[in-house]
Amino acid sequence: MTKGKNDVLQGTLALLVLKTLQHGQMHGYGITLRIQQVSNDFLRVEEGSLYPALHRMEQDGWIAAEWGVTENNRRARYYRLTAAGRKQLAEEEKNWADLTRAVAAVLQLA
């Protein structure tokens, strides 16, 4: 498990997970695949850090989890956004936008 340069930045993982869950519930493995797909293989979630993050977000009340069955008949834990999670997502999206705008501004002017 070597760190690629496109590993998800510390701190943005929560944002990505929340965003991914915005359209419906999903299990951990699904989230990994989804982020990879949507970013055209550019972002790779470090699997080892995904579960602790999910666990923490669950405890913070942003997401809720329950056991379900996949289309291949495997038991898996499905995560979905809670109301608090939706609020958190909005906030983190805004923070991210502010950050990138600010960085872009610096890159242009400095």
Partner: protein, 898 residues
Amino acid sequence: MSFFARLRGLWRPDQLDADLNEELRSHLAMRSDDNIRAGMSAEEAPYDAQRRFGNATLLKEEARRMDVIQWLETVAQDLRYALRTLSKSPAFSAVAILTLALGIGANTAIFSLVDSVMLRMLPVQHPEELVQVGMLTPNFGNGHRTSYTNPLWEALRDHQDVFSGLFAWGTSPFNLAQGGVVQTARGMYVSGDYFTTLGARPAAGRLLAPDDDQRGCPGVAVLSYGFWQDHFGGAPGAVGSTIPIDGHPFQIVGVSAPGFFGTEVGTAFDVAAPICSEAIVNGKNSSLDQRHNWWFKVMGRPKRGLTLSQISAHLEALSPQVFAATVPMVWNPVQQRSFRTWKFVALPGATGPSFFRGNYALPLEMLMGIAALVLLIACANIASLMLARAAFRRKEISVRLALGASRMRIVRQLLTECVALSLAGAALGVLVARWSSRLLVRYISTQHNRIYLDLSLDARVLGFTAAVAVLTGVLFGVLPAFRSTRISLADTMKGGGADAPGDTRFRSGRWSVAMQVAISLVLVITAALFVRSFTKLTTLDAGFDRDNVLLAHLNFHDVNAADAERTADSSEIVRRIQALPGVTGVSQSVLTPVSGNTWDDMIVVEGGHAPTGQDADVDLNYVAPGYFNTMRTAMLEGRDFNDRDTGTIPTVAVVNQALARKFFPGADPIGKTIRRYATATNLSGPIEIIGVVRDAKYESLREDFPPIAYFPLAQLPQGAERLNIVVRTASQPSLLAPAVEQIIGSVNKSIALDFSTLAQQVDDSIVQERLLATLSGFFGALALLLAMVGLYGVLAYLVLQRQKEIGIRMALGARHGAIIGLVMRDVGVIVVIGTVAGVGIAWLTTRLVQGLLFGLQAHDAGTVAIAVALLAGVAFVASYLPARRATRVDPMTALRHE
């Protein structure tokens, strides 16, 4: 939500674990499925999944670390492990726990006194609201006068409208015996609003109410819970019965609740009676209308929403009117003018006024500092023990590091061990503290001043102990924990890696010992200062001989006799005591030295440059013939009083050297006259000085010899209600007390009497100094002991380290002396560094205690020298033993060792 989620985790830890396991399995399975779908072989697929995933165990730990349960689990696990490890070395654990119990116990004991004396609020309803009313007076500078006369209190009570309840109280010993040896109860006169304003509740019967405190009231009394238990066994029948107070029956109407000790920290009351009933006890001598008898303190509960400064402003506005109406008539015109300018001021009253606090705040703060330093030494000591132990545990630690434990995890484990040790020490320490703080309170209580402090463990004391325990554990644990986890794995696993003498581990041990030496030297110097000033006090020449003197305090209060008969009574008593075997002298006096009672007045000396006004104030006493001889206060000039010095002409006096020097410098005082104020404005007739006696202490041993004027007892204007019979004996004075008691009883049964010895009275006047000397001595010795154990430990370790080297030296023919010198040179350096630092610190800090010392400077070189010599001596012994052992090393064994 998150908090509750974690809490829920507490109930189903296994469930949580199982969930996580299954989730990870399902992730790996899905990845593996996809791998196969992508064309990987069935064997390869799970491995790849696993590889992508990384360390599942670590991950699980990571996920679980979020949980309280996980945290608690680790703590419990660490704790179990710590207990197992500690129980494997019981000697080490016992020494550490005992040291800590002493250190933490001492700190807790002193802190519980500090808490009780300075921090705790009164045990009444809403104590934070209480306000004490003091007075700003020109004579008191920035301080406040807080005692009231009854007329002043009544005027204040009737004029103010800022308090919803205002109350006064004054303490006074109540004699419960009917004649004979007194049985003193701690009495308290309270105003009618006292209990209601404080919100106190009765444990039985009722408490006093405003109706009870009206002029001409009948005698009623409230008992404290403790007194009710001790004297009535808590019998309900006590309420309604009567007790005699100074011979007058008072009906008991109720008992106050347990835990209520009154409103003055440092004392507790036994019996409370309304102020008006003082007239019953003292009859025509009642203080109710006297404007110069200051016996009350005043506190109140302000009306809602008023600030301290608003109350003060209001009180200040009514001050001129109140003071003008209560001017003490016996004061001279200057004092009276000053009195009219006094102003009331509101002071915070939550912790209650306390005479005791004023006396003991500084000593307690100092003892707190000393106790903290002792604990610091104990910490350093245990830290070096831990370091030495760490050497033996290197294998274990390196194995755990090699197995992948993180360094922080092991540090945490080691710290848990330390905190477990210090918590065990603290638990034991609380017991030590409970016992020793009670002992201390008994130690500072005297015959006439029984100290009461509420020493129940409150949250603040327990919090303090817990905080000290954890802090201590971390303090002595952090350095060893980090040190012992900084290990070269390869070296240790190979079995080598023994410390070289220059090893950092040893160096830090050396620094810690130097620090211990320094701190213990500071404590030893402090102790030496207190012990020496106490010795100076106990051995100083007080101007009288304190040994073998029995004092009988007589109170004629209940005696129905004219003054002449009273005198006849006492001369009969004196005659018969004189005849007792073993009595070498008997006399009488109104006051005895350092008794706590004083009497002073201005004298007037005509002509010359004699002092006038306040500067002409001298101490007084009325004594019978033979007093000076009995006290062994030498008569220097002139004559003693004799049986003819009675009546009014001529009035005579004996003065001491200080008075003669001050009022008659360079002249012979014999035959000169002095005058006193007969009333506030009129002078008495001339009083002739017939003798000069040696200087003697009057109020306290610490004072410079004050000017004293003695007058003949037979010329005391109204006769004495209280009198002391002073008996010099050939042997143990208290043995004579029963015989004296019998004589007094047979002469007059209604005389109340109370015995003590002059030596006891002198001892009771230096309780605080004795406390400081004893405790600082104890702590100093403890510190010295701990430092020496530390020194011994480090040196023994050092000798073990250098065993091989010493063996070689001895094989090459080094003599024992040379080896001892070699080892001790190292110690010498440590001790010298510690000593220099200690003397430096002491130089800076002992100035703080100057005010508590007597007869020597805080920077007294002799004391410092004694302390350094003591330390050096003990250090030599502590280091000589291991050094000697070094010479017993058999060269062959040492060399074969590796």
